[in-house]
C-alpha cells in the first residue's frame, strides 16, 4: 500500500492498527472505543478486527480506566487509553499524576509504564462545556510524563506509533478541530523525526512563530498573510511539549531575533511562559524584541457562540507579530 490521503482521524486509526499488529501486548481501552469506534471514530473498525480482549470498552470511570491501565502495564501490557474529551480526564488526574508519572522513580527504574493516554483537546468545534479545554500545562508540569501534540495527519500517525512504542508514559494530545484535516500518509514508510523533535514548518528570517497542535495551522496562515506585507515569518511546530526541543527553538530565534508563542491555553502560566523564559535565557543577545505570547484568556473556556473571541486567530497572531516587529 502506497501513500494515501488520510484525515487525522484515519491517520490515528491506522497508527493504532499498525501498533496492535506489531505487538500483541498492545491494548486499546476507553469509553465507547469498541463497537462505536469512539465518539470521533478514531478506533473505528478495530473492535471488529482485534476483538473484545484487545479493544476494551470500559465502565464509565476515568480513574478506573487509568488505574487499571497501570495494572495492565505492570503485567506487561502496553495500554493505549482514550479519554473521551479533555474535560473528562480530571477523574483520572490523580492516577496520572501520583501513579503513572511517579511509579518508575518510586521503583528505582524496576517498573516501566509504557502507557499512551490519548486525549482529544482544544476548542473550535462549537461544543458544550468541558469539550474544548487545553490543559497541556498540567501534564507538562509533571515530571515523569512525556507530552506531545501533533498538528497534522502525518505527525499524528507517526507520533502515535512512536508514543505507543515508548517505554515512558506519554500524554498524547489530539487537536480535535484538526481531526478532519487531510494529509498524505504512508504507513509503510518511516517517521521523519524522533518523537520529541520540533520541526521548522516554514522557514523565515524576520520572526519565529512557535506553536503546537491546533495552533500550527493558524500560525502558518499568519505567516502566509504576513508574507504579503513583506515579512518572512518562520513557524516552529513544537510537536513535543515535554521534553521541549529547545535546540531547534534556539537556532530559529537566533536566526530571526523575534519570537511569538501561540497556544489556546490561557497565557497565564501556559507553555508560553516557560518557552519565553528559555528563549530569553538562550537567545538574549539575539533578541530584537521581547518574546510575546498569544493565547486564551484567564477565564473558563466560554460558551461556543463566543469561543472565536477566546481562541487565538489570524488577527490576534498578526497583531502580536506586528507588535514584535515594531520593536
Amino acid at each position: 500500500m502506497a501513500a494515501e490521503k488520510y484525515s487525522m482521524v484515519k491517520a490515528l486509526n491506522e497508527a493504532l492498527r499498525r501498533s496492535l499488529e506489531a505487538d500483541p501486548k498492545t491494548l486499546v481501552m476507553g469509553e465507547d472505543v469498541g463497537r462505536l469506534g469512539g465518539v470521533f471514530r478514531v478506533t473505528d473498525g478495530l473492535h471488529k478486527d482485534f476483538g473484545d480482549a484487545r479493544i476494551i470498552d470500559t465502565p464509565l470511570a476515568e480513574s478506573g480506566i487509568m488505574g487499571t491501565a497501570i495494572g495492565l502495564a505492570l503485567r506487561g501490557y502496553r495500554p493505549v487509553v482514550e479519554i473521551q474529551f479533555d474535560g473528562f480526564v480530571y477523574p483520572a488526574f490523580d492516577q496520572i499524576v501520583t501513579q503513572l508519572a511517579k511509579m518508575h522513580a518510586r521503583a528505582l527504574g524496576h517498573v516501566k509504564l509504557p502507557i499512551t493516554v490519548r486525549i482529544p483537546f482544544g476548542g473550535g468545534i462549537g461544543a458544550v462545556e468541558h469539550h474544548s479545554e487545553s490543559h497541556e500545562t498540567y501534564f507538562a508540569h509533571t515530571a515523569g510524563l512525556k507530552v506531545v501534540s501533533p498538528s497534522n495527519p502525518v505527525d499524528a500517525h507517526w507520533m502515535l506509533r512512536q508514543a505507543i512504542a515508548s517505554d515512558d508514559p506519554v500524554i498524547f494530545l489530539e487537536p480535535k478541530r484538526r481531526y478532519w484535516d487531510k494529509g498524505v500518509v504512508d504507513p509503510l514508510g518511516e517517521a521523519a523525526l524522533p518523537l520529541h523533535a520540533a520541526r521548522v514548518a516554514r522557514a523565515g528570517k524576520d520572526l519565529t512563530l512557535v506553536a503546537y497542535g491546533p495552533m500550527v495551522k493558524v500560525c502558518l496562515e499568519a505567516a502566509e498573510a504576513a508574507a504579503e506585507d513583506g515579512h518572512q515569518i518562520e513557524v516552529v511546530d513544537l510537536r513535543s511539549l515535554s521534553p521541549v526541543d529547545f535546540d531547534t527553538l534556539e537556532a530559529s530565534v537566533k536566526r530571526t531575533g523575534r519570537a511569538v508563542i501561540v497556544h489556546e491555553a490561557p497565557v497565564f502560566l501556559g507553555m508560553g511562559a516557560e518557552l519565553a523564559a528559555r528563549i530569553t535565557e538562550r537567545c538574549f543577545y539575539s533578541l530584537e524584541a521581547p518574546v510575546l505570547r498569544v493565547g486564551g484568556y484567564f477565564a473558563p473556556y466560554p460558551p461556543s457562540r463566543v469561543e472565536e473571541t477566546y481562541l487565538p486567530d489570524l488577527d490576534r497572531v498578526l497583531d502580536a507579530v506586528d507588535r514584535a516587529l515594531a520593536f
Partner: protein, 373 residues
C-alpha cells in the same frame, strides 16, 4: 404505608420491578407501594408528560435546524422524570445531569432556560435557588456528591427538606457516585439517588457497568434500593415519594433504579444504529410511558377527546414559544467571557478584559493597531 428498610432484594412475594400501571394502562396494586390519585391529578400528570415530550421534540428539531449546537433528548424517560419530579415538594432540591428536562419542567423551570447551554450562549446560567433546581452537570456523576453535601446541610439545619440526585446507569461506575453513596450512608443524609437506567451509556449497554441489578448496589452501602418501572409514572411517583418521606423522617438515603429506555440517540451527535439493534427499540415502544396513562384515563372515563385535544393544542403553543424563544436568544457580548470568573474580582481578569476591549475597538477604526494591517 409501612415499609421495612430492606435492601429491596426480590422475594417471591415482592416482584423485582415496582409497577402500578401496566403498559396496557391497567392499574395494579403493589404490596409495598400504594398510591392514591384523583382523576384531576392523573390528567395533570398526562399533561406534564405530553408537554415535556413536545418540548423535547422541538429541541431536537431546533438542533437539526442549526439553532442548537447539541441536544440530549429525554425521549422515553418522561415518566421517570415527571414521576420523580412531581414527588418533590418546592423546598426539595434536584441535582440533575444534562437530560433532566422533565424534572426541570415539574420544578417550574422555564424550558427556555435549559436551552442556552445547548445553543452555546451560556453554560447553564439559571439561578438554581429560584426553583431549587441545580445547574445541569455534564461531568458524569459529580452532582451526586453535591446533592449529598447539600443534604448533609439540610440535616445540620434541622429542616425536613430533601434532595434528589439524578444520574444514569453509566454514571453508576464513577468513583464520585460510589463516594456519594458512602457519604450519604455514613451521614444518613436525606438524599434520594434516582438512577435512570435507560440501558445505555452512549454505546455501552448496562452490562458493561454492572453484573448485578443496579438497585442492589445500595445494600452494600447500607441503605435500601428499589427498582421501579421507569416508564410507569405512577410507580415512579409513589416510590420517590416514599423515599423522600424516609429522608424527611431521618431514615437516610435510598437508591431508586428507574428501569427505562433511551428511545433516541445519546445526543444529536450520536448514531445509535452503529451499536444497537432496532428490535430493542420496537419492544420498548410497546411500553411507552404516555400511552399507558392515556389508556388508563380513557378506560376510566376520566378524560375525553376534548381534553386530549386541548393538551395537544397547549403543547403546540409551548413548542411555538420555545422555537421563537430560541431563535431570538441573543449571543452574549464577547466581553462576557470575563464576567463572573470570580465573586470578588481578580486583577488579571480585569487586565485582560481591558486588553480585549481595546483590541476589539481597534477593529472599529477607533484605534490603529500594528503596522500594515
Amino acid at each position: 404505608m409501612t415499609v421495612e428498610s430492606t435492601a429491596g432484594t426480590a422475594t417471591a412475594a415482592v416482584p423485582e420491578l415496582v409497577q402500578l400501571l401496566t403498559p396496557e394502562g391497567e392499574r395494579v396494586e403493589h404490596p409495598r407501594f400504594s398510591l392514591e390519585t384523583t382523576p384531576e391529578e392523573l390528567r395533570s400528570i398526562y399533561r406534564d408528560l405530553v408537554l415535556v415530550r413536545r418540548f423535547d421534540g422541538e429541541a431536537t428539531s431546533l438542533q437539526r435546524q442549526g439553532e442548537l449546537g447539541l441536544w440530549a433528548s429525554l425521549l422515553g424517560q418522561e415518566a421517570a422524570q415527571v414521576g420523580s419530579g412531581r414527588a418533590q415538594r418546592p423546598g426539595d432540591w434536584a441535582f440533575p445531569t444534562y437530560r433532566e428536562h422533565g424534572v426541570a419542567w415539574c420544578k417550574g423551570v422555564d424550558p427556555l432556560n435549559l436551552l442556552g447551554m445547548f445553543r452555546g450562549v451560556n453554560h447553564g446560567g439559571w439561578d438554581p435557588y429560584e426553583k431549587n433546581f441545580q445547574l445541569y452537570t455534564i461531568v458524569i456523576g459529580s452532582q451526586t456528591l453535591h446533592a449529598t453535601g447539600y443534604a448533609m446541610g439540610i440535616t445540620k439545619d434541622g429542616t425536613d427538606d430533601a434532595v434528589v440526585a439524578y444520574f444514569g446507569d453509566g454514571a453508576s461506575s464513577q468513583g464520585d457516585v460510589n463516594e456519594a453513596f458512602t457519604f450519604a450512608s455514613v451521614y444518613n443524609a436525606p438524599v434520594v439517588f434516582f438512577c435512570q437506567n435507560n440501558q445505555w451509556a452512549i454505546s455501552e449497554p448496562t452490562e458493561r457497568q454492572t453484573r448485578v441489578p443496579l438497585y442492589q448496589r445500595a445494600a452494600g452501602f447500607g441503605f435500601p434500593g428499589v427498582r421501579v418501572d421507569g416508564n410507569d409514572v405512577l410507580a415512579c411517583l409513589a416510590v420517590t415519594r416514599w423515599a423522600l418521606e424516609r429522608a424527611r423522617a431521618g431514615e437516610g438515603p435510598t437508591l431508586i433504579e428507574a428501569f427505562t429506555y433511551r428511545m433516541g440517540a445519546h445526543t444529536t451527535s450520536d448514531d445509535p444504529t452503529r451499536y444497537r439493534i432496532a428490535n430493542e427499540l420496537e419492544e420498548w415502544k410497546l411500553k411507552d410511558p404516555i400511552e399507558r396513562v392515556k389508556a388508563y384515563l380513557v378506560r376510566e372515563g376520566w378524560a375525553d377527546q376534548e381534553f386530549f385535544d386541548a393538551v395537544d393544542a397547549e403543547s403546540e403553543q409551548l413548542a411555538r414559544r420555545v422555537r421563537e424563544g430560541v431563535r431570538n436568544m441573543p449571543d452574549p457580548d464577547p466581553s462576557a467571557i470575563f464576567e463572573n470568573v470570580y465573586a470578588e474580582g481578580h486583577a488579571l481578569v480585569d487586565e485582560e478584559r481591558e486588553e480585549y476591549v481595546a483590541y476589539a475597538a481597534s477593529f472599529d477604526g477607533s484605534e490603529e493597531v500594528g503596522e500594515g494591517r
